[in-house]
């Protein structure tokens, strides 16, 4: 039965496109159920992906998309990336009004284009065209061709995006029998219809009448939670470098072969490195010394050139220039470690706090970053070689919690990077406030930071000018605007603490008559709003798990005493907890407030989302409570 269904859908989608008949494009032809939650509808769509041989392929795309309202207008941006490996060959854009009559037509030569890439050398070209909508709803038709001159990455069949429904869509992949293809559907169960002749095998995935999935804020990167089919080659060729992607092991072999000979450090450099760690026996300490040497003297510069997108620059080049990209710097560090007799492996990984790890059972080039792993008997050391400030052996949520492909001499091995731990991203502040009876006051905070907070503080706060620091304190941390302040770092090279001293004309949030209403602490321990989704189907990504603690000591003016203290809190949900505690000490006339907010994991699964929403809203709510102090 299932087979029949697929076949049927396939046949419908296979009908020739009926462009001349405008009536079919009329917006009134969209089934009612596809309008629900949708800002755009894919009316018809065909992808034809033809693999010619190991190194060349071509894709023809035909899309007809109706944009229902202004909120779907991002679908009117035709943006295509074109590089030496994947070149945009031809493009044709047609615009139709709500009734389906042709209004405008644009050709490839009318597209805007510009070189892109942050690096010294452009990664490729971006072609773009923004269709202006006469009025909504309206329909656009895109026809374009992409030529593949490198076949490591096959296209992904992304079936639908956020707030988008699909009337009919199909993807056909046709490959030489000798090469074969691998595929995997995600977030949808979809099997291809397979046929073959004596030279080629053809796979066809078709869908029809798929309802829109509402956009959920803060979800995974690149619509990873929406339906799609992944495609990958077995054998591929990039710029003449042939490889085999059918297993992680063979993919690792290919990658390793690209970097052969890249460990060409001079004997002189090797000797210098050996001298740096002479007399030290602890392996971890040796690695740390070299890592700090790298951080102090080298910097990240993005350089891509053809196969350079995969092949690292030689270690001697990096040594000479003192810069490189992630591949080059990781390769250089690896060479340095080798020079002092410590083996390490480069590891390919997909970077970003909310980007998705690769599927372990489906080898694919799903990586965009390289880090370095130093195997140890227990707990390998992981090094992020592109950052001048990241602490030793810390990756951060940028590359933690996911699969990485270790490139070993015997091929690729898929391993887990460390799990993020709350304690590695800590922010702990101890503040003493001297309050005067006119509401003014001065305070001093000692703040200890690690992980993401350390990078944030060092990068965005310490080195900045005073007004930028002030903006950070007020806008990011939620301090009241101080009249005067100073941020310093206690001496010491690798310091994890900063000191803030400040004075303020008015410390209480507000006063009423002779009463002062003091905030539980001087800044907001949590200063963010989660999207108020009542139901969620996709995980929500926080930046990282964290642990924040605060102790604030209010020294009250002599003629004041406490009238009301907020109640202690003891809140928790499966991924976090929040505790507060308030004490008034009569003898010293001080109020001490204590708070700890801990989030164990930064990915909130849909089933916990409602609880998370309540939890964070309670944390925010707690700050609105006040310590009421009144004249004696």
């Amino acid at each position: 039965m299932k087979f029949l269904m697929t076949l049927l859908i396939g046949m419908v989608a296979g009908l020739p496109a009926t462009l001349g008949q405008t009536s079919t494009l009329n917006v009134s032809n969209i089934p009612q159920e596809l309008l629900k939650n949708a800002h755009s509808v894919i009316r018809e769509e065909t992808y034809q992906f033809n693999v010619n041989d190991i190194g060349e392929a071509m894709m023809e795309v035909h899309q007809v998309i109706t944009v229902l309202d202004a909120e779907g207008k991002s679908r009117l941006d035709f943006v295509k990336f074109s590089s030496d490996f994947q070149k945009l060959w031809d493009a044709d854009i047609r615009v139709f009004d709500a009734r389906g009559s042709l209004v405008n037509r644009y050709k490839m030569k009318e597209l805007g284009s510009e070189s892109i890439g942050e690096g010294l050398v452009p990664d490729g070209k971006m072609y773009y065209f923004r269709v202006t909508a006469p009025s909504y709803p309206m329909t656009v038709e895109y026809d374009y061709v992409v030529k593949y001159k490198g076949t490591l990455s096959y296209p992904i069949y992304g079936i639908q995006g956020p707030d988008q429904s699909v009337q009919q869509s199909s993807f056909t992949a046709s490959v030489p029998l000798s090469l074969g293809i691998r595929y995997k559907s995600k977030n949808i169960h979809l099997n291809p219809e397979v046929s073959s002749d004596n030279s080629k095998k053809t796979y066809k995935w078709s869908v029809q009448n798929i309802k829109a999935i509402p956009e959920e804020e803060g979800a995974a990167d690149e619509n990873a939670d929406y339906p799609m089919v992944l495609l990958a080659p077995n054998k591929f060729s990039m710029d003449g470098y042939e490889g085999d992607l059918s297993s992680w092991k063979t993919f690792g072999n290919w990658y390793e072969s690209l970097s052969s000979g890249a460990h060409d450090l001079s004997e002189e450099t090797k000797a210098t490195l050996q001298k740096m760690v002479a007399g030290i026996s602890d392996k971890k300490l040796k690695v740390r010394i070299l890592y700090h040497y790298l951080q102090k003297n080298f910097r990240y510069v993005n350089i891509n050139l053809g196969i350079g997108g995969y092949k690292p620059l030689n270690a001697s080049y990096v040594e000479d220039k003192k810069y490189g990209d992630c591949k080059a710097l990781s390769n250089y560090m690896q060479a340095c470690l080798a020079a002092i007799g410590i083996p390490s492996y480069q590891a390919l990984v997909n970077a970003g706090y909310n980007s998705q790890p690769v599927d372990s059972d489906f080898p694919i080039n799903g990586f965009d970053h390289v880090i370095l792993c130093v195997p140890m008997k227990k707990d390998s050391i992981w090094l992020e070689c592109t950052s001048n400030i990241t602490a030793f052996d810390q990756l951060g949520s940028f590359t933690e919690n996911r699969y990485a492909l270790l490139i070993t001499p015997s091929g690729g091995v898929l391993v887990h990077t460390p799990k993020s731990r709350a304690t590695e991203n800590s922010f702990s502040s101890l503040t003493t406030v001297d309050l005067s009876d006119d509401g003014s006051g001065s305070y001093k905070s000692a703040i200890h930071i690690s992980g993401e907070y350390r990078e944030l503080m060092i990068h965005y706060v310490l080195g900045e000018d005073k007004d930028a620091q002030k903006k950070f304190l007020v806008r990011y941390l939620g301090y009241k605007q101080p009249d005067d302040f100073l941020i310093t770092q206690p001496s010491g090279d690798d310091s994890n603490s900063i000191t803030l001293t400040a004075s303020q004309e008015r410390v209480p949030e507000f006063m009423a008559g002779s009463k002062m209403f003091l905030n539980p602490r001087l800044y907001k321990i949590w200063n963010d709003n989660l999207p108020r989704d009542t139901s969620r189907s996709m995980p929500y990504y926080l930046d990282c798990p964290f642990d924040k603690t605060d102790t604030t000591l209010y020294r009250l003016p002599a003629n004041y005493t406490v009238e009301t203290l907020p109640e202690d809190r003891d809140d928790s949900f499966p991924l976090g907890s929040y505790h507060t505690h308030y004490v008034y000490d009569e003898k010293s006339n001080t109020v001490t407030t204590y708070a700890q907010l801990e989030i164990y994991a930064h990915v909130i699964q849909p089933k916990y989302y409602a609880a998370a929403l309540k939890f964070f809203s309670d944390v925010v709510d707690e700050y609105t409570e006040k310590i009421v102090v009144a004249q004696k």
Partner: protein
């Protein structure tokens, strides 16, 4: 931190004619981690027809080694990349080697330019502070330039005449060149600041405009146009004046309905609305209509000038006194009325002179009402392109402002929730952005009300007058917000829905002028009922706060009854701009203003009478 920024420009002559030779030298000290990126250099140039080239590039990094000796590392030729960006622009890119915090990097290059009128302007100031910025120019006396110095620090200048010889027409020609040097020292860096104008309105610089060429024969060619000539040229241009009168198709419905209208105002309004509705701005800013307005009309999409020339055409068809005006929008910077230069303008709008008053129309903005000067050009100058009525006009409007008024009725329920209705009316310049949001991004419109208050929820929202141009946008909101509690106290803010929640001026230093563009007015009138058994703690005081120059006024009145509170807060900003020198007093006042606005009303349970 830039230690040296040096430019040297002279003219040279070769077989292809005169060219400008520009030598630049930049020395930068890297002071912190973030500055490391400054060691990646990208030099963009215009290489269409080989008009510009970059040569003689050299770059060196200087470091101090442990012994205190200077170590130099050169950028090698092989690490310098030249890439073409698009059809007309190219870029030379390189990264300095061996750069760390404390390094000094220096690069030099020569740029030649075949366009002899394109004597580069010199910006002394930029994002980073500069120790010395020096610009030396040597111009053959046959080229006469207007020079405009826009600096507010002490500028050192030198001027000298030098004799030069160049090969000219097979022989040698002697001529006198003027050498001028401009030096500025210790220039602060400028960052983004809230409500600042276009960069080019405040960065310190010196500008040049070629005025005349005096040939050795004694002839003087006027290169710089005059405003009348400028107007004439534009009116005769295929891409401008020739586009004024075109037959557009499918406009008969409009013509029929306009025919029956009595007043010119009605007609103008109808035509403006018609173009606004039918034409879509394609995002291009251009003072010419390159493809012509007929093409734009057929495609229903075009640049701002295309759209407004269509508007002009239709207005003139209806015999309405309409004129094209050249404008420079707020982001593009102020225009200089001295020089008849096209490059300083970036848009064409339409000026309609009716007995009721002048109207400025920009039909590429779908949300601006007919009677409001577009915000983009408010308080700017515009040039009317017309043979008889041409000239400058000032686009001022002292009547319309940015205005929000709120009336609010709410009760505090027994379980600690403020619940009620608010009606927010957005007038003048406040309407346009809200209307845009309402039309294009309805689902996020709540943000205007909820963003700044913890726990505030909008139960229902109704918007009136979205389609009526001349009426303010009325937003009716039913809302709920938990009040805050501590022990027996409950407290709540009353500065609600006005749109005055965040103090934008917290920085201690400010370099640029504050430019709001318009006057502003905010007010809230409200009544809040208390639950039984509660009474007020001391209320925030009735106050009137006025800034020293009286241009900002806050008034707050609070009147309590047994179980209710009447309050009124108004804030009026009566000046559209402040010079940077006034910033300290503005900042000080803003702090007090927002302190006052954030004061909350405290209530507590009545003590039971025993």
């Amino acid at each position: 931190y830039k230690l040296i920024d040096y430019g040297d420009v002279s003219y040279d002559y070769d077989a292809a004619g005169f060219k400008i030779v520009e030598q630049f030298r930049v020395r930068i000290k890297i002071l912190k981690d973030k500055g490391l990126d400054e060691a990646n250099i990208k030099l963009r140039y215009y290489n269409h027809d080989q008009l510009e080239t970059i040569t003689k590039l050299s770059a060196v990094t200087y470091n101090l080694d442990d012994a205190g000796n200077v170590v130099t590392s050169k950028v090698e030729k092989s690490s310098i990349f030249n890439k073409s960006l698009d059809k007309t622009n190219s870029e030379v890119a390189f990264s300095f080697p061996d750069v760390k915090v404390g390094s000094v990097i220096e690069y030099k290059y020569t740029e030649t330019n075949r366009d002899i009128a394109d004597l580069p302007d010199w910006y002394f100031q930029g994002e980073f502070p500069v120790r010395v910025s020096e610009y030396r120019i040597e111009i053959p006396s046959i080229f006469r330039f207007y020079t405009q110095m826009l600096v507010n620090q002490k500028l050192e200048t030198k001027q000298e005449s030098v004799n030069e010889t160049i090969p000219l027409d097979g022989g040698l020609a002697n001529f006198v060149a003027n050498e001028r040097t401009f030096i500025l020292r210790d220039i602060p860096g400028v960052h983004d600041e809230p409500y600042s104008g276009a960069e080019k309105d405040y960065l310190q610089r010196v500008e040049f405009q070629l005025n005349q060429i005096a040939y050795s024969s004694g002839d003087v060619e006027n290169v710089m146009s005059t405003w009348p000539k400028f107007t004439k040229d534009l009116l005769e241009s295929d891409d401008y004046g020739k586009q004024f009168r075109k037959r557009l198709t499918n406009t008969s419905d409009l013509e029929d309905s306009v025919k029956h209208m009595k007043t010119d105002y009605e007609k103008m309004d109808a035509i403006y609305g018609f173009v606004q509705k039918n034409m879509n701005w394609n995002g291009d800013e251009n003072i010419f209509s390159h493809d012509g307005i007929k093409t734009a009309w057929d495609k229903k999409s075009g640049s701002n000038t295309d759209i407004n020339l269509i508007l002009l055409d239709l207005l003139r068809d209806a015999d309405i006194p309409a004129y094209p005006i050249l404008v420079s929008t707020r982001d593009n910077g102020q225009v200089n009325t001295l020089y008849p230069l096209l490059g300083q303008f970036n848009n064409t709008m339409v000026f309609v002179n009716l007995p009721e008053g002048p109207y400025i129309l920009d039909a590429s903005d779908k949300y601006n009402p007919v009677n409001l000067i577009p915000y983009d050009v408010l308080n700017e100058k515009a040039f009317v392109v017309d043979k008889d009525h041409g000239g400058w006009i000032q686009l001022g409007d002292s009547y319309h402002k940015f205005q929000n008024t709120v009336s609010l009725f709410a009760e505090i329920t027994k379980d600690g929730v403020m619940k009620g209705d608010a009606e927010i009316t957005s007038y003048g310049y406040s309407k346009n952005p809200r209307l845009k949001e309402w039309t294009e991004d309805k689902s996020d419109f709540d943000d205007y009300f909820t963003k700044s208050y913890t726990g505030l929820k909008v139960d229902s929202l109704e918007v009136d007058n979205a389609t009526t141009d001349t009426l303010p946008l009325v937003q009716k909101v039913k809302f709920r917000m938990p009040v805050n509690t501590s022990g027996d106290y409950e407290y709540f803010p009353v500065n609600l829905f006005q749109g005055l929640e965040k103090n934008p001026f917290i920085a201690d230093q400010r370099y640029t002028d504050i430019d709001f563009g318009y006057d502003q007015s905010y007010s809230i009138n409200g009544k809040i009922y208390l639950p039984d058994g509660y009474t007020f703690e001391t209320l925030p005081r009735n106050i009137k706060m006025i800034i020293a120059d009286t241009s900002i006024v806050l008034t707050r009145l609070m009147q309590k009854d047994d179980n209710s509170l009447d309050f009124m807060i108004t804030v009026n900003f009566l000046k559209p701009s402040y010079s940077a020198s006034k910033y300290p007093s503005v900042k000080e006042f803003y702090k007090k203003l927002f302190d006052a606005l954030s004061e909350q009303v405290v209530i507590h349970k009545k003590k039971s009478i025993s």
